[in-house]
Amino acid sequence: MSFFQGLWAFVAGDARAERTVPPSGYSVWLVVFAAAAMTFLAVFVSALSQTTARVADLWSQELSRASTLRITADPDAMEAQVAAALKVLDTTPGIASVQVMTLAEQAALLEPWLGPDVPLELLNVPAMIDVVEDENGFDGAGLRARLAAEVPGAVYDDHTTWRAPLVRAAGQLRVTAALALVLILGALAAMVALAAQAALAANAQVISVLRLVGARDVYIARAFVRRFTLRTFAGAAVGAVVGMIVVALLPNDATSGGFLTAIGFQGLGWIMPVILPFVAGVIAFAATRAAALRMLRQQA
């Protein structure tokens, strides 16, 4: 029998065997509810976690991979210094692109403070070079040392002071969310296991009657396990769907652009809420099966 045939037989069940197990009432509802609530929370938290992860990535990438070189020099020495700096940057491994800011760009940047028509060209403003590192990154300290030697007027600013707290905060949120997710799934597993135990304990007499009329262990276990697995799956599926709906309904913040993205799932992230009910089902299967076989072994 292939795995899928086995799975199908399990899901389809044996109506006769099923009936021998009493409708376990509150225990089963407890499981359904716990599965729904925990999965809902898990979906919620994983949406949060994924969003935070995206934000953290954005910040890490955008801010950490971009840095600025500011070169102060006499107007006549400026061009040479810029050229020297570009040469240093060109020979630094790990740099993806280098761009000298035009005066117009600098003016746009400064407009809020200087007003629209400041004659920057008349001022001896420093030259600015945007540096974007590639995936491998480069050695900031080494670059600083070389620049100090070859381009004395260069000040290298890798935005660390701006970036660090933001990235750290995002990382913190992300760890917190992941921790919460692990806790929620753990709590779900524990609750399903305990509820299954409670249901089995409440049905000790049923199990004993079944054993005494010649039922085999697998026959008895299967009916319980199937019920708990399917109910848990159903509960978790409801929880996941409701969770996805609520996440979708959360106020989206498209205007914030690259800085904060809307809470929700993107791309492969959708796997998470879809997978959760199956995870819950597997947890329920394992927990109930272990509990049932343990209880059965205690009976003659």
């Binding site: 006769r16 065997a17 009936r19 021998t20 009493p22 409708p23 007499q205 049923v206 004993s208 009657v209 079944l210 054993r211 005494l212 009329v213 010649g214 039922a215 085999r216 262990d217 026959y219 059965l296 072994r297 003659a300």
Partner: protein
């Protein structure tokens, strides 16, 4: 088919059974008496392997119960019909489903459909077929327990005080049922305090009466 060889048993404290031997052969009919608490139910439990002896061996259908694996045990139970002293049913199934339970569990439902109807008639439970066990009277439960024990026409029937709650006429009907089964070659063992019942059975078939006292199994006097 079931053999006890020099069996001793204790629940941890004093010995309940000491050096008991008994052989339930096809076509044998035993009664087991003895004061309350003597160990009759314990002896029955050893026979259907709900307990294993502290000393000696119990063999059911040639296999030793102490070393049987759980699946073999389940299959063995299908060949032994037991009426328990506290008749336990599945309260969420109707009476007829409960009586059918051994067949359901063995996957043989249907094969014995006529059996069920006849049996329910014989034990006087035709009208109660669709009731649930908690709404049955004490005697009705006992009769149902007997019906469940024999529905699969097992090779051995072990009945623990099967008539404690039924009236005299019904007791006789139940004994007649057991005698019929006995004549078909089944081995029967009945625990009872009811001496009238034993006398009635003796009139219908050759039976042996055993008495359990002080942990020993003895043959009862000829007065029974």
């Amino acid at each position: 088919m079931i053999e006890l060889e020099n069996v001793s048993f204790s629940y941890g404290g004093a010995e309940i059974l000491s050096d008991v031997s008994l052989s339930l052969r096809p076509g044998s009919f035993h009664f087991l008496t003895g004061p309350s608490g003597a160990g009759k139910t314990t002896l029955l439990k050893l026979c259907y392997a709900a307990l294993t002896p502290t000393q000696g061996t119990v063999r059911a259908f040639e296999a030793e119960t102490a070393t049987m694996d759980r699946d073999t045990l389940a299959l063995t139970r299908r060949r032994v019909g037991v009426v328990h002293q506290d008749c336990q049913f599945l309260d969420h199934l109707t009476l007829s489903d409960n009586i059918n339970l051994p067949l359901t569990v063995a996957g043989l439902e249907g094969d014995y459909a006529q059996n069920l109807a006849d049996l329910m008639n014989w034990v006087g439970l035709r009208d109660q077929a669709d009731q649930f066990p908690p709404s049955l009277s004490g005697g009705e439960r006992q009769r149902a327990a007997l019906a469940r024990a024999v529905i699969m026409s097992p090779d051995v029937v072990l009945a623990d005080e099967p008539t404690g709650n039924v009236d005299w006429e019904m007791s006789q009907r139940l004994v007649k049922l057991l005698v019929e089964l006995n004549k078909m070659g089944k081995a029967i063992l009945v625990c009872t305090h009811d001496l009238n019942l034993i006398r009635a059975a003796k009139a219908l078939a050759p039976t042996r009466v055993l008495r359990l006292k002080g942990g020993k199994l003895i043959s009862a006097g000829a007065d029974l």
